[in-house]
Point group: D2
Chain length 363, copies 4
């Protein structure tokens, strides 16, 4: 499984940070779907590095080449393969690190797994660079979902402990677009200013900060998902933990809800225009693993970037003795803001997969 | 997939709350493993209802019958099937509810999925009763893990916002046993008293509270898990969200970590006795989806029991108009304390599955 | 995976030949489906042993008990568990065999796999007895398919090298019923007489014979199945090889077609009543792994029953030296005629699963 | 699933016959494995078209480019992506065919599945061209297997009904190499001459012939595979039916065995040098889905190439009326001889996957 998720729609990611290319195979797309490559590029640009002082200085154009599955701008039923060449690989920055695993990175666990034989330059296959092909797949999924009335949007819910507003009870596609168009994707601009200040402060302190991304999907029908181990939450969580640096996933009130009373957390049902809605949405649109038809709301917690400029304690793997290292190279003082489209991408891909699988309750 | 998880070790749960029986098929167990049925029963008793005023008054003996896979107390390679008859089904308590979905329950989503044809008496297949067969599977997994030096333990990390202590950096099997032996599974007895007071207060107010379960596993080798979508976190989260009422899952610092700085959250490596350890364990024993060899630490958030005695607003599904209901029947003012062994069970089952699958990094 | 197949509709079989019971969990059935238990029993009776001199003398009533998933004769969305107790276990017949693996049986490979710790009495989990719960699942699948205009039927295509006629180009549901009602399920009664004579001759010679089952499904829409590794042939073959004693699976002309010329084997397309049909059906209703809408036709080869009354050469596993054994106990001189409903069952289950999964080509 | 197979080792194929490239992602390879690219190229050359009058005149160099997963000639733990550009795409040859499905091809079923929106130029994703990336994956698997003492070889077992000899009871790696080195891969050169004559005769008659490939694997340990639906046969068959034109798969005696008596088909066990062997190998190395340790022997039936030069009857899909067509373009009068390495490739990939997964019988 490893670098793949999905059932009907399978998304398989490949590449290493400093290899020739990263890419993705998307197997199972319906045929005849037009892909708006300009819109896709705008989506990819949202996660692209090197745009401002808040991110790594690595320069990548991130323009995918389609080797298969897309003919004259339309899907053709065959697996789609998109490749993004790695333009700016400065692997010398990381030279010599291999013996000294960087704290908080997968260097040590990759060493434990592959006996030191992994290509871990720049984080190798664990690098945030792998989120570029994920966004190709997810960006395509978003277009197909939108065509079917399902919209996915996200914002930075918190950075360095500074909270943004939450999504309103009924977010709209327009709101999603509005946030996506912002250089710093928050609902509350003032909170965004404080977050950016915190990121720059961390950067100046040769440090980093973490954050939380809140993602919502609207337009989902009720009845999607299966009970117990194959619900919307199970499948979204399994995929979302595949985004580098994610350490927590919650739906609706999530961990906060564990401190509420039932009378506060239950969502009263309402009949509205011939449909069943809920007056609040503490459930985040999911009850018993199955969609209610209300907006799906989830949050993913991103740890602070482990790459920091400070001297850190580590070990020499070859000598099994304590050592120190200072991580050179370019790195993000915060990944959460660049992760916003990535969370959208993974959420969209999972939801499209589940919609294609359908609700087999009555077949 | 629905009611199943696992790869090498497949666990498939069946039954409805008020049907004839609940049960589990465990396919893939190694052969020749002795199962200590008394120890298993003690484990099952930890989640059994009806022991005190903190839980539902439903009486169940919860003694599994083994139809296959276990011969003379040992596994025999064939799939193990264990059945627990439903002794005390008072389905009349729930009569008439079917048209009025209970807020916070899966009644409405089951209706949306199965067009009103589901057996939802007592929650049907969504009932917490399904955690009994889960504990049979997980209790067996715990025994097999212990035989291989891997121990899984859990405690109530919070109830109604009242926190317990966290597990220490290096929890021991003895600590796990000590907590498991307590009638109310907390580390800090005083916090436990306050939690129980909060539960009873909620009960008296015809209300309910939620909680958080913290679970740890010790003895895991480094190198377990695969990158991206098939890591320890992905697979544990996918299974843990299958426990009824779980709305969030986090590893290590999780959501709290999103507010830390990299210099605070990174775990420095240390060479200790020829092994690589970390000085702290903010990562919860997982980096890049792969185990570090430090204790695996996770937390699952349980929402407050949706069944509360108060009058609630809902709809009539047949007439699509607003309605009210008061949930009769027996229910738990809190499920989190009974969920402690369930989280252990699911965690143990996933870890045993992953250990059996092995670390194929170098084959 | 082991004892399970299916995606949307998961079928998980459990039990050992001489354990307490055999059974099946069917997860993913649509809700509200009436199950005609009498029709199901008639289907089960077609494979039941002990009816005549052609089969084992083992007596089993094979009446399933439904522990879950079926309420008042209808499916309810929850996994269905059916259990068939093992009434007539004469395990003493097999006593002492365990050290001397029976040629042609799984005794030796089970020993290699489970280190001698498997329960192999009567073949254990490898026994043909496991086809009883398979038929419960498949019999239910057949009822659901019939309700949707898809009919599955089979006949003995050959026994001991004696061929039956093939199914006509367009078999009908009536033909399927007609064959199913026969005590010996062939199209050509005369061929059937010769087959039965051959079976009895083998029996009298303390020997056994093999056979081939031909199965067809009508009413399938064109466009079902996915290219390459997830087509109708891949999935049917994967499941059919799970029936004990199957050593070959072919579709349409299969192995015979490998000797034909393209001009003989190609099926000309015809426009008939606004639909595309083929003038012949050498493809067996599948091109490129995807259904054509013509009848699906497959054949499964069953090896001669390995249990024969003659003295055979084997080894003592404990002493690793050559030995002899004479298999006692009851056994079938031929399994192919009893396997006819089993092939129908597995075919029906796979097809229902694929129909539920749908044709996602254009979503 | 579609264009993918495998569990631990996942192989995902992409590309269309006349698109930019075909390729493969191999996820799960152990790290540090040296890949002999010259040996791999020799293996690929065995299936490459355009070498003689027996095959299509399409010219392809079929040299894979490795975009990821291979650094300095060694696997690095990350998914390996290999791409083979399509050099010689003469799609005009196929122009105008799209409305008239070619008999025996997937044109019609692709139309039924994707509503006419598939890219079916040259067979699209169903083309035999997709076996090139399959051979990249399988050729790598063969190298890893050989390093572990497992060797896979194949030969043409029959063409146009003309049989080759069977593999001997104990084929050797040397024999496999010897056959692989032949321009026409048969054991019996005289039979090979007759086959080639038959192929050329078919070609001259604007027709085609089918064939059978026999494949064997030696060096497998006993105990590999799981009972019922997850055995060696199930998994090999599921993958082998993914090779274009395969219509039948059998193990050991297969369909021929269905005509034997048990006393003829059973393989007597023998103690030899502290190991258990069988005196014959009618089982093809598999009993109960689990390897015996004897050579694994299977056969795959390939239908005659559906592309023939003769005028054929078909329909116009747009007008739903009968029509005729003459297939232009280059095509193989027989694919079976070029399929020999493809069967090896798929067999090797499945076996490596199963070996990596291991025998969990006693864990």
């Amino acid at each position: 499984m490893s670098s793949e998720f999905g059932r009907i729609l399978k998304i398989s990611v490949f590449g290493q940070s400093h290899g020739r290319a990263v890419g993705v195979v998307v197997d199972g797309l319906p045929a005849g779907e037009e892909i708006d490559l300009e819109a896709l590029q705008r989506f990819l640009d949202r996660r692209r590095p090197g745009k401002d002082g808040l991110s790594t200085a690595r320069k990548e154009t991130d323009i995918p080449e389609f080797l298969s599955g897309l003919e004259e701008g339309r899907t053709c039923g065959a697996p789609l393969c998109a490749v993004i060449p790695n333009a700016d690989q400065r692997s010398r920055d990381y030279g010599g690190l291999l013996d000294k695993p960087r704290p908080g990175h997968a260097d040590f666990t990759a060493w434990a797994k592959w006996g030191g034989k992994a290509d871990m330059r720049g984080g190798g296959h664990f690098s945030g660079r792998l989120t570029a092909p994920l966004c190709v797949a997810g960006g395509i999924a978003k277009q197909l979902l939108a065509r079917r009335g399902v919209f996915v949007g996200a914002h930075l819910s918190a950075v360095a402990g500074i909270p943004d507003r939450r999504f309103p009870l009924l977010p709209t596609a327009e709101l999603f677009e509005e946030v996506a168009a912002k250089p710093f994707p928050v609902l509350d601009g003032e909170a965004g200013e404080r977050m950016q200040t915190a990121i720059l402060a961390a950067k100046n302190g040769l440090d980093s900060v973490g954050g939380v991304v809140e993602c919502a999907a609207i337009g989902l029908p009720p009845g999607l998902g299966d009970p117990m181990f194959d619900g919307v939450e199970n499948r979204l969580a399994a995929a979302l933990f595949g985004i580098p640096a994610v350490k927590g996933v919650e739906f609706g009130e999530g961990f906060r809800g564990a401190g509420l009373r039932g009378s506060e957390n239950n969502d009263a049902f309402r009949a509205e225009g011939g449909e069943v809605r809920t007056a609040s949405n503490h459930a985040g649109g999911v009850l018993g693993g199955i969609t209610t038809g209300m907006p799906l709301v989830l949050r993913a917690a991103f740890k602070p970037t482990p790459s920091i400029g400070r001297r850190q304690e580590t070990v020499s793997l070859s000598r099994l003795e304590n050592a120190e290292l200072t991580v050179q190279g370019r790195h993000d003082p915060c990944v959460a803001h660049r992760a916003v489209p990535v969370v959208e991408a993974v959420t969209a891909a999972v939801l499209l997969d589940m919609l294609m699988e359908g609700n087999h309750g009555t077949f």
